[in-house]
């Protein structure tokens, strides 16, 4: 499918306008919406992830690819997709950093997850309600300040109190977060970057 290959390229190279054009073209050609999402958009994000792991792409490329992907994906809303899982994601309370979290959300979306993005400054209770309302498989948290990391521990505890802890897996990340910290607060997994987050998220899904 020439147009889908070109769409992949447009997303990978972060060309927002071209991605929009080609998505429209694909829709005009009456390609199956599901195919556009899987073979065009999701495939592109997989390549982006691979290049990231291969140290060819770094955060700058991820940022612009993510923008192109979002542009394309927003034109596909309403397309029924079999999601591989549901993730609730947010930046913890007191923290407003969201670039990293947005990247992770985009990569997860590209990988076929239903992503409920709660935004920034999300309290433990908000994570719990969203997790429960959306029957989430995973609750993912990001923090960029050492001063706000503590909210992650509180969220895990809030999940326990709400009796939800058994039903969801907790995935954490962010510059000051480490594997040791994730183990300390009894999270299920830690990811140092967006590409690893996708891998871990897939591993955390019930088989």
């Amino acid at each position: 499918m020439a147009v889908l290959d070109e769409l992949q390229q447009a997303i990978i190279s972060g060309n927002r306008d071209r991605a929009k054009e080609l998505t429209q073209q694909a829709l005009d050609e009456e390609l199956e919406p599901r195919k556009i999402v899987v073979d065009g958009i999701a495939a592109a994000m997989e390549v982006v992830g691979e290049k990231f792991r291969a140290n060819e792409f770094f955060v700058p490329e991820l940022l612009i690819a993510q923008r192109a992907m979002k542009e394309s994906l927003s034109m596909m809303s309403g397309t029924p997709i079999d999601h591989v899982g549901t993730i609730v994601i947010g930046t913890v309370r007191g923290d407003l950093h969201d670039i990293g979290k947005n990247l992770v959300a985009a990569m997860l979306e590209g990988a076929g997850f239903k992503v409920v993005d709660l935004g920034v400054d999300v309290s433990p209770d908000q994570f719990v309600s969203a997790g429960s309302e959306n029957s989430a498989n995973i609750v993912a948290m990001s923090a960029l300040l050492t001063t706000t990391m503590g909210a992650m521990r509180e969220t895990v505890q809030a999940l326990e109190k709400a009796g939800l802890r058994e039903k969801v897996c907790v995935l954490v990340g962010g510059a000051p977060v480490t594997q040791s910290y994730a183990e300390e607060i009894k999270a299920d997994a830690y990811a140092p970057d967006a590409a690893t987050a996708v891998e871990k998220a897939k591993q955390l899904l019930p088989t």
């Binding site: 770094f58 007191g94 407003l96 950093h97 920034v120 050492t146 001063t147 510059a175 480490t178 040791s180």
Partner: protein
């Protein structure tokens, strides 16, 4: 609790610490400060030491950083390794904090000298039956204006003796409207003030002779809070999380300030007691730490300071030894992290007046930006600092002896090293030069990707051979093994380029967003002022080349040195400038970038390493 002896080599300094102390803390206790830009979190990898026995098991962060052979040799991160027995520790030179180059010059502008501190020589007639006025009234009448005696008893107690000591001549000392001292004889020339800039990294004290406004001497040193982290956030973490954290941070800075003031006084050949006022500038966190006010609100969203307005407090109450009645004036903060130092910068550069579009950027640890259009101003702080200060760059370091601070690429690579010694690292201006030059010659693509050797076949051979690829990835050798201090090649890695992109994009995007608020674009800038130590040494062409600052005619781009310090001096020297500073702080609109929608897009757009002008 068991105590153990830790011996540091090669300096052979020992210290005894309780079990469980980290080697970083032990080194500090031994008087051997180790680099810890990340504040001991285990992130930056700069505090490497080699421990024989006496340390606990390596942590996951360390296992990621060191390979098996290195771990077997005892390589550890001093901040992570804990003392569990007597230990011998080898400290590589690269892990030590080194003496630092500071920017203390500042383009000072002319102002009418009308300091807050006045020393007025008076000839007083002695009391008589016809004139039985009290000692105090005699002095107050002679001053001829509304002056209050200071509330402290010190001056009152010294008054009778002073009046009768040197005949009928005394000198009254007023600070603002307070009478703070009466001294025997004419001591009006012995009046000094200290203007202090408490930078996150460097603290500078300028001693000024107040009657003339002349600069008498300067003393500078590294901010000792650096032990708790190179950037403000790490220090906030210490202040908020540790019980004595805020007090320790405060003591550290006050002690240094006291020390610097003493040093400056010695150098000028004047006494500490002749210093009657200290004007202080610093970012919001620094002003809080200085006054020992917990900056708790600044540690998380919505990032509110405990106070904003100017503060006036007795130097003696803070523990600073100058004249016993001396006061300290801390300039007001603007909002969020944008503090008194930015007010100082605006005052010095007069952004509050004038026509056209003017931008001032302090590419220091916090990256404050002020945009002014016809005197209307807004300001923000970006989190861009650390990369340009060496914290997240593989061979990054502060500007000190051994730092590559300039790079040129033609047939080969030519690096200038500060102090002309073997290279040990790359500092901010060197980093910007290196990236700019490598982009210019095509070794680095605009996207930030470092090209592979087989893509550079038409490049000069010597340049091409510097591009190597190994298990750490692609990197460009700036200084070969024989030119460096540790005998290993000093390279710029692909990741370093990305860190530079992220940092410069944040600054550019912040500037772009503030300009847009005024309906202006980067091309409209009439004056772009680069402040801070970094601003002085960075090559404007390189900064433009990588899109750190907009592509403007060079005559519109100016380095203004330590403008915050100049602002503090202005406030000391002139009461109208002091009022102006307070007005500025009220007028500047603080913009919190994290809350603005437009920032993210601009940030992504600003990633490319190429000249930017907003016409794109």
């Amino acid at each position: 609790m068991a105590k153990f002896t830790v011996r540091f080599l090669p300096s052979d300094i020992s210290t005894t610490v309780p079990e469980g102390t980290s080697f970083l803390e032990a080194a500090a206790a031994a008087g051997l400060p180790l680099r810890s830009p990340c504040g001991g979190q285990g992130h930056c990898g700069k505090c490497v030491v080699q421990v024989g026995c006496g340390a606990d098991e390596a942590r996951p962060e360390e296992r990621r950083l060191f390979n098996d052979r290195e771990l077997a040799e005892g390589r550890r991160l001093a901040c992570q390794a804990k003392v569990i027995a007597d230990a011998d520790v080898i400290v590589p030179a690269s892990s030590l904090v080194v003496e630092h180059r500071v920017s203390v010059e500042g383009a000072f502008r002319e102002v009418l000298v009308e300091p807050n501190v006045c020393k007025i020589p008076l000839r007083l007639s002695p009391p008589s039956l016809e004139d039985p006025r009290t000692d105090l009234k005699r002095v107050l009448d002679a001053l001829g204006r509304t002056v209050r005696p200071t509330r402290s008893l010190g001056p009152l107690r010294a008054l009778p003796g002073a009046l009768r000591c040197a005949g009928d001549e005394v000198t009254a000392v007023t600070v603002g409207d307070d009478l703070v001292a009466v001294e025997p004889g004419d001591t009006s020339d012995a009046a000094h003030g200290a203007a202090v800039d408490i930078g996150t990294t460097t603290v500078v004290a300028y001693l000024c002779h107040l009657p003339t406004g002349r600069l008498a001497s300067v003393a500078a040193d590294l901010n000792p809070q650096a032990r708790y982290g190179a950037d403000v956030i790490s220090r906030l973490q210490t202040a908020v999380a540790e019980r004595e954290g805020a007090a320790r941070l405060s003591r550290a800075i006050v002690q240094l300030l006291d020390d610097l003031v003493g040093r400056a006084a010695d150098e000028a050949g004047v006494s500490r007691e002749s210093i009657y006022e200290i004007a202080v500038v610093g970012n919001t966190c620094m002003t809080h730490f200085f006054l020992a006010v917990a900056p708790t609100g600044l540690a998380e969203a919505p990032f509110v300071p405990a106070f904003r307005c100017a503060q006036r407090v007795r130097a003696a109450d803070l523990g600073i030894a100058v004249h016993p009645e001396a006061s300290v004036f801390v300039l007001p903060n603007i909002g969020g992290y944008v503090g008194a130092d930015t007010v100082g910068m605006i005052l010095a550069s007069e952004l509050d007046r004038g026509d056209g579009v003017a931008v001032a950027v302090d590419i220091g640890t916090n990256g404050e930006i002020v945009v002014a259009k016809d005197g209307e101003m807004c300001a923000c702080s970006t989190a861009a600092g650390p990369a340009f200060e060496g914290a997240r760059i593989s061979r990054g370091m502060r500007a000190a002896a051994g730092a590559i601070d300039a790079v040129a690429v033609e047939d080969d690579v030519d690096c200038h090293v500060i102090g002309d010694v073997p290279a040990r690292g790359l500092c901010g201006s060197g980093l910007v030069d290196a990236v700019a030059e490598l982009v210019r010659v095509g070794v680095i693509a605009e996207s930030g990707r470092m090209r592979r050797p087989d893509e550079l076949l038409s490049h000069p051979e010597k340049v091409r051979h510097r591009l190597i690829e190994n298990e750490d990835g692609v990197q460009f050798v700036l200084a070969r093994a024989e030119e460096t201090e540790d005998g290993k090649p000093l390279s710029l890695t692909a990741r370093d380029v990305r860190e530079t992109q992220l940092a410069k994009a944040a600054i550019y995007a912040g500037m772009d967003l503030l300009l847009a608020d005024f309906g202006a674009s980067p091309g409209d800038i009439d004056r772009l002022l680069l402040a801070g130590a970094f601003g002085n040494y960075i090559r404007r062409e390189s900064a433009i080349g990588i899109g750190l600052i907009p592509a403007l005619d060079l005559d519109r781009v100016e380095s203004i040195g330590n403008a915050a310090g100049v602002g503090a001096r202005l406030v000391l020297t002139s009461t109208s400038e002091r009022r102006r500073a307070e007005a500025i702080a009220r007028r500047v609109k603080h913009v919190a970038l994290s809350e603005r929608d437009g920032f993210y897009d601009r940030f992504a757009d600003a990633m490319a390493l190429r000249p930017m002008s907003g016409a794109d």
